[in-house]
């Protein structure tokens, strides 16, 4: 059972791609080997900046010989057919066997597929894996056509037998011939060396200053970093992403701790940390007592005779320059902030947010107005909410945010403090972007909540007004995230907020862009299709007189003109018609434009809510049953109802009650269809024949006001428990009673009783939408 060792040695592989690449190498090679008939005992993949390595233990030495039988033509088939079969099967006529079958005598070929040696299979599989490797981004180099993440320099591919003898697999990929050699550390141990197997490979690499395993490198870095920090009475700010990245940048990690010049210790810690991480890939080392970042950890890729002194000095110098920049930005920004930030407000007017939705300043005005409206609902002071909204985007033109976009919001908070604004305003500057992801914290401070909602509702209504909604995977303005943000803000703060009202307010601010979009659409439509132009003109003509038809006439009379003049005439006319259309709409029926958009946006919210609740274990049909109810734009109410229903349906009572409801509803629907009447009159106890009927009647009479009262107080748990009380009487009723009695009075009474079940059930939720 030989062991296989593969190493693909290249120029530096991007850190972020290494782990995935090692996994892909392992999966693809082992899949290929198994598919070709080999088996193996174990496989492990490794990566360093310069190599992808795969070690496979206990590989079978060859694939098994396989016998295959192939049915051929009948013996009396034409020679041509028989010869064709022989060629295809790779046998001679003497090898054929004749068998009697129903339709006559038929030739059979027995084909023996000899097993192949592991070396041949490995060569074939590896060649294909290299050529089809799923790098996120790959490249060509020199004058070759092979693609790899960076130039591939050598392939090590050996099979080591039980005696420890290594055999190089015969393989050549675009001029790179596989061998048994590799290189150690680029600087500390240059030159190639041969290996005989995986253990030998690991040992020799380590001697040549390469730690093969990325996890081992990461552990060593973290261990050493925390030890050095601890020795200085400090702690390393944990950052797993950075640790993994740094481990992918070195083959021989050497941890060095350096100091940050006093001049920079006054910068906000987030600025220090971001600058050091983004630019230098340094870890931040902070003083646990003060929370201030005082030192940094850098990880070098080599040992030096001066124990890293030159390297550390160099890194410190680079950091000095970087932080000088940051300090320059910070101080310039503070000057503007202390002067009230007017320069930034002015700058926002010059920054286009979207060509149809105006500048950032326009956006700020809308958010401010919306935040004001929302404030009372969330318990915020309207003046503060407006002030916070007006400040919220101030940091966007600041130099710090230009340099580090990820600090937006946070800088707004610092600058608000510097400007002497109220604490609520400062907090909202930072928090109004939240929640950014499904696990991000949701703001709870009322002013922050008001601005956060206004921010998101403005974006959503804006893009809906200009008809640029997310499609498929395309969502460049992160509108899905914004909608989910609104949902979480509402739910987690338990806000009784009618989303439709807020959407309508939002739309009001986008009236103009929306009309412009409609105008553009109509214009294009008419340009593309004159018939449609006629239709629109007729519509308008009914409201405005014949002016629109005159424009159509212009189009028709332009047809014989020269192409360029004709195009201009038609374009002018189309423009006039579009103008008339929009003017008419805006005057008379603005609602006809925005109502469909509002409803569409509301259902977008519902879709997002479904995804959100699904993650929390609420089935989509349960949500549908609740969305179908009145007041579905009160998201908190909707979720309360859905959660209560979902919980209820998970109980035995709930499940059985649902079956009872469905049975009642089915019988009722059929009867109503047949009889052409609706059984919605109250049943009368005096027509009851059995004890079960009377019991059900009593239960329904009791449950109906209970459900109604619970609904009124929005206590859905009580609604469900009232329904639960119906389960036993309904079950007993169906067990004992035949609804379709010959006595019409009895039958009608029973159907009316079913009608009552339906009524009570549907008051809770549209149970007909529940599956199963």
């Amino acid at each position: 059972m030989p062991d296989l060792l593969i190493e693909l040695f290249s120029e530096e592989i991007p850190a972020r791609m290494q782990v995935r690449a090692a996994d892909d190498l392992k999966a693809r090679v082992t899949d290929g080997l198994v598919e070709a008939g080999l088996t193996y005992a174990g496989a492990a993949a490794f990566c360093t900046p310069r190599r992808l390595t795969l070690a496979i233990g206990g590989l079978t030495a060859s694939s098994p010989t396989v016998q295959e039988e192939r049915k051929g033509p009948r013996t009396d088939a034409p020679d041509k057919a028989i010869e064709g079969f022989l060629r295809g099967a790779g046998v001679t006529r003497d090898d054929l066997e004749i068998r009697d079958e129903k339709k006559g005598q038929v030739y059979y070929a027995r084909i023996t597929k000899a097993g192949r040696g592991a070396d041949a299979i490995v060569a074939e599989v590896l060649d294909s894996v290299i050529r089809n490797f799923p790098w996120p981004k790959s490249m060509r180099w020199g004058d070759g056509s092979l693609r790899w993440v960076r130039p591939l320099h050598s392939i090590l591919c050996i099979l080591t037998d039980d005696a420890g003898e290594a055999q190089v697999v015969d393989l050549d990929v675009d001029g790179i011939t596989a061998g048994n050699t590799t290189e150690g550390h680029r600087f500390m141990a240059p030159g190639r060396f041969a290996v005989t197997g995986f253990d030998d490979y690991c040992a020799k690499l380590k001697k040549r200053f390469v730690v093969l395993d990325a996890a081992e490198r990461a552990d060593a870095i973290w261990q050493d970093a925390t030890n050095q920090a601890f020795a200085a009475g400090l702690e390393v700010a944990e950052d797993r992403g950075l640790l993994a990245e740094v481990a992918g940048l070195v083959e021989w990690p050497v941890v060095l701790m350096g100091t940050i010049d006093q001049t920079f210790l006054g910068l906000p810690p987030e600025v220090l940390q971001t600058s050091m991480k983004e630019h230098q890939k340094f870890f931040s080392v902070r003083n646990p007592k003060t929370g201030r970042i005082e030192r940094f950890i850098t990880v070098a890729n080599r040992e030096t005779a001066d124990n890293g002194a030159t390297i550390l000095a160099g890194n410190q110098k680079v950091l000095f320059a970087r932080l000088s920049d940051a300090k320059f930005f910070w101080e310039n920004d503070l000057r503007i902030a202390e002067a009230g930030g007017q320069a930034w407000q002015d700058a926002l007017a010059n920054v286009t947010f979207h060509n149809k939705l105006g500048s950032q300043a326009d956006r700020v005005n809308r958010i401010a107005a919306l935040a004001r409206e929302i404030a009372p609902v969330v318990g915020a002071d309207p003046d503060l909410a407006e002030q916070a909204a007006r400040w919220a985007k101030s940091d966007l033109p600041s130099e710090m945010v230009y340099e580090f976009p990820e600090l937006q919001g946070l800088m707004g908070r610092y600058y608000a403090d510097a400007a002497g604004l109220p604490a609520e305003v400062a907090a909202a500057a930072q928090e109004h972007y939240a929640p950014l992801g499904p696990s991000d914290d949701v703001p709870t401070a009322p002013v922050s909540v008001a601005v956060a909602l206004a921010d998101k509702l403005d974006i959503l209504t804006g893009f809906w007004a200009i008809d640029e909604k997310p499609t498929g995977s395309k969502d460049p303005f992160a509108l899905r995230r914004a909608a989910l943000g609104v949902i979480r803000l509402v739910l987690e703060n338990e806000l009784g907020l009618r989303v439709s009202d807020r959407i309508e307010e939002g739309f009001e601010f986008h009236r103009q862009p929306s009309l412009e979009t409609t105008r553009e659409q109509i214009y294009q439509e008419i340009l593309n299709d004159f018939d449609r132009g006629q239709e629109v003109a007729e519509e308008i003509a009914q409201a405005l007189g014949n002016q629109a038809f005159e424009e159509i006439e212009k189009i028709n009379s332009a047809v014989p003109l020269q192409p360029s003049i004709k195009a201009r005439h038609i374009s002018d006319a189309a423009q006039s018609i579009a103008d008339m259309y929009v003017n008419q709409r805006s005057g008379i029926e603005w609602r006809s434009i925005f109502v469909p958009a509002r409803d569409d946006l509301l259902s977008f919210f519902h879709d997002r809510l479904k995804v959100y609740l699904k993650d929390q274990g609420v089935r989509h049909d349960v949500i549908d049953a609740c969305i179908a109810m009145e007041g579905n734009d009160d998201l908190a109410l909707l979720v309360k109802r859905a959660t209560a229903l979902s919980d209820f349906l998970k109980t035995e009572d709930g499940e059985n009650l649902l079956q009872g409801f469905k049975r009642a509803n089915n019988i009722l629907t059929q009867a109503e269809e047949n009889d052409g009447v609706e059984y919605s009159f109250g049943a009368d106890a005096k027509f009851a024949e059995t004890g079960e009927e009377r019991a059900l009647f009593a239960a329904l009479t009791k449950a109906e006001p209970q459900v109604a009262a619970a609904l009124k107080s929005e206590d859905f748990a009580a609604v469900m428990s009232a329904l639960a009380g119906l389960r036993a009487p309904i079950d007993a009723f169906f067990e004992a009673v035949q609804v379709n009695s010959d006595n019409q009075i009895v039958r009608r009474n029973r159907l009316n009783m079913l009608g009552q079940i339906r009524k009570i059930g549907l008051a809770a939720a549209d149970l007909t939408r529940i599956e199963g």
Partner: protein, 309 residues
Amino acid sequence: MTATTAKPRSFQDIILRLQSYWAAQGCAIMQPYDMEVGAGTFHPATTLRSLGPRPWSAAYVQPSRRPTDGRYGENPNRLQHYYQYQVLIKPSPPELQALYLGSLEAIGIDMALHDIRFVEDDWESPTLGAWGLGWEVWCDGMEVSQFTYFQQVGGHDCTPVSGELTYGLERLAMYVLGAGHVMDMPYNDPAAPIPLTYGDVFRQTEEEFSRWNFDIANTEVLLRHFEEAEAECRAILDAPEADPKTGKRIVMAHPAYDQCIKASHIFNLLDARGVISVTERQAYIGRVRALAKQCADAFVQTTAGGRAA
């Protein structure tokens, strides 16, 4: 290499060493392009010569301008005018990394004491319609070069692939010379009869241009110049290939490309003046890219671009 093993003593010494190192590797040592550009890549010896099948090997210093980086000469290492050293070899040789490291040794970086790293940095020039994969090269955490394998330029696939090296000369020199502030760095030999620092040569110009770039440059004039350069570029490329005067086929890829360079630089100036909004920005970049693509299309129709003479 024995003559250069002593540490360099000045900015110009580093430039001279790079020149002789790459000359020794067989590169044609070219001179700076005589136009305002944002980076050495804009030199036609890189942009255009990376196109087509013909082998190429060149190295040169290119003065580069980035108006938004102006700091009035105060920042220790940000300048609105600086120098890049550029090497372009087509096809990229297999030992390009080793050649590059050799150049660092040539300018006095001792590989035994420093930490050299190749950190992923995919290069993309939206204005040139170009991209490539490679790294920024770090020396002790300092980015000293950009190392790129060109994959596409002006919308054309690069076959063969060129290897491009770009050194930020000031930063590199500051590092090697141990200067803390760019303006304090010796420009010529500190022992020369008249020793000059970088500041002696450039402090005043940095200040003057920072002011002009940020606050004075006439944006209306610039906007007009942009339009004119764009129109001229198109007009040049629209001219018929056959030259009636000489009777020869003359495709004017280079004159057109000059106008593209001009448009690109004017865009940078407008950007520094802060008169271009985020959305407009994309549109301007798209316009320059369209020009670059047409110039590339034209270049591959020329002899240097690979068309049979």
